[in-house]
């Protein structure tokens, strides 16, 4: 490789990443580090109550104040990052994997399988998304697992449709024919050749989707369908803090709410950046 092409490559790499996407990427990385290292980062025990220190505003000792039973809000924010990211990541991974699998098969083979998945997707999309998530979470019973399943099912239609459309559009292309002629079976063609080629599009969807999944799970928790107290979860912390808002304890709402918004913003920026980059690559050839 000559020096010339190395420089060209570096310049085009820089051009493909705008500032917002970089910020998003760093923020996501920081979020993951915080979530993983939370048990060692917390300044106080997030579950230890201290009645003498209840409802203290943010200070040097308690960066985000204390809640109604004197727990350190900052410690709870950190430990909650684990649960919120886990729920969102597990839900998005589940809908990504199942949706891509079903959508790719439907797009490649068509026929009755395509029609059945299409109808099922129509049924799921006939509900307002959050209402469907509420109904599912209620039916499954409160808890982390039902939050994950409810969020995953609601997201499923988008992956099925996207994977189906992308695979269907490519199934007659030359390199797919080539894979077929190389003696690969139908499943080998779908999962060996087609799916790897449509993965980038699906990954962009997944990144933007993570932001939505975080907000969806938090919303379910907010209406009381999520985790049980005293578990620290951002949506439920907002719901608990809302009761003390009128008496001037703003930090109980603003801090967990800000954490939610920051996490969702980070994933949105990253998704937008990845999407832009994908567009550029497509245009370059």
């Amino acid at each position: 490789m000559s020096v010339r092409t190395a420089i060209d490559r570096r310049r085009s790499w820089a051009a493909r990443f705008d500032l917002a996407a970089l910020i998003g990427g760093f923020a996501v990385a920081a979020l993951v580090v915080v979530a993983v290292a939370a048990p060692w980062l917390v300044p106080y025990d997030p579950y230890a109550s201290n009645a003498a220190q209840a409802l203290q505003p943010p200070s040097l000792a308690h960066w985000a104040g204390t809640d109604q039973i004197g727990r350190d809000v900052f410690s709870r924010l950190l430990i909650a990052a684990r649960l919120d990211l886990l729920i969102a990541a597990a839900a998005v991974f589940a809908s990504f994997a199942i949706g891509t699998f079903a959508g790719a098969l439907a797009g490649y083979f068509g026929g009755w399988f395509d029609r059945v998945t299409g109808r099922l997707v129509d049924v799921l999309l006939a509900f307002p998304l959050f209402v469907l998530a509420m109904a599912l979470a209620a039916a499954l019973g409160t808890g982390v697992a039902s939050l994950i399943v409810a969020t995953a099912v609601v997201n499923l239609p988008f992956y099925v449709r996207l994977a189906r459309a992308e695979v269907n559009a490519r199934r007659g292309l030359g390199w797919v024919e080539a894979a077929r002629l190389c003696g690969r079976g139908p499943l080998g063609v779908v999962f060996g050749a087609l799916v790897p080629n449509v993965l980038p599009v699906l990954m962009v969807q997944a990144s933007t989707n993570l932001a939505w999944a975080i907000l969806n799970a938090a919303g379910l928790s907010f209406v009381g369908l999520g985790v049980h107290p005293p578990t620290a979860e951002w949506g439920m912390m907002v719901a608990e803090g809302a009761r003390y808002l009128a008496s001037g304890h703003w930090w109980l709402v603003v801090c967990p709410g800000g954490a939610l918004a920051a996490a969702a913003l980070a994933f949105t920026l990253l998704g937008d950046g990845l999407g832009d980059r994908l567009d550029l690559r497509g245009r370059d050839g």
């Binding site: 109808r119 307002p128 469907l132 509420m134 907002v238 809302a242 709402v253």
Partner: protein, 343 residues
Amino acid sequence: MRVVSLLLARVAKRLLAALPAIAGVLVLTFVLLRVLPGDPASLYATSPSAGEAEIAAIQADLGLDRPLPEQFWIYLRDLARGDLGTSLMTGRPVVADLARRLPASLELIAAAFALALLVSLPLGIAAALRPHSLVDLGARVLATVGIAVPTFVTGLVLIEIFYVLFGWAPDPTGRLDIFLIPPEQVTGFLGLDALIAGDHAAFSSALAKLVLPTVTLAVFVMAPMVRITRTAMRAAMASDFVRTAEAMGLSRFRVVLVYGLGNALLPVLTLCGTVISTLLGASVLVEKVFAWPGIGSYSVDALMAGDFAAVQGFVLMMAGLFVLMNLAIDLCYRAVDPRVSLA
């Protein structure tokens, strides 16, 4: 006359096409009700210490001892008669509860949708006409940040600022000041009812109470609307027909609004389906935050109380509303896109 009959034919066709999905919705809500945790019969019982015999009698009364297919048939039959069962919380028919509370929800959703359109269309157009300007930057920031802040947090922060800190907004609970007597219910839309009754105090109170919830709900859907308007408008303004229109010396106003916006409206309209889905869902959260007496807060209370009939009725009503609104959007295509024919 011909237009009307064509319109009706299209409505019928779209409803027919929605039938499989509606059937699926019915099955799904039925199954959800059966798998909800807890035994409805023991909840209906007179006391927690009700004997086995009493619970069995209630089960028989509710039809819970029959096989599932028969239960499904009974459920469909009751539904056809407009019977969604009785609410545990209120002791009234679920249909009556929902009908009484629906106008409050529709009022909120319609106001938020109108506000979102009023803000995001002009903002998206302005951003598209002046790329990389301050307006464009503002639109991009709104489009990115707007979807990241959850509705319930927006609502609570607005309450903190405008009610707790400055005291500009009225007490953020319900639709009317608690010291006012609600006007006689005619339409169910409080502002309209107050006007009909000629009650100015009730009208201004209802309007003031509507402001914060409407803004909260609208902000959440503005982001994607600004984004799509901007993108579609930029594409339209860069097209050949706009260049031709400009070359022919048409006024800027006419070029932008007729040729630019006229063509950019289609993707915006397509997005409206998603926007309405989001509005219906997010209204539940906003109603909870503002103690708004609509069907959303009713469903949250019902979930907490284990009131299955009410939850089921709510889910069905939401799905029904969504199907109707999608139908309305579909009919709007005709008005916007001359290529879509009614036939």
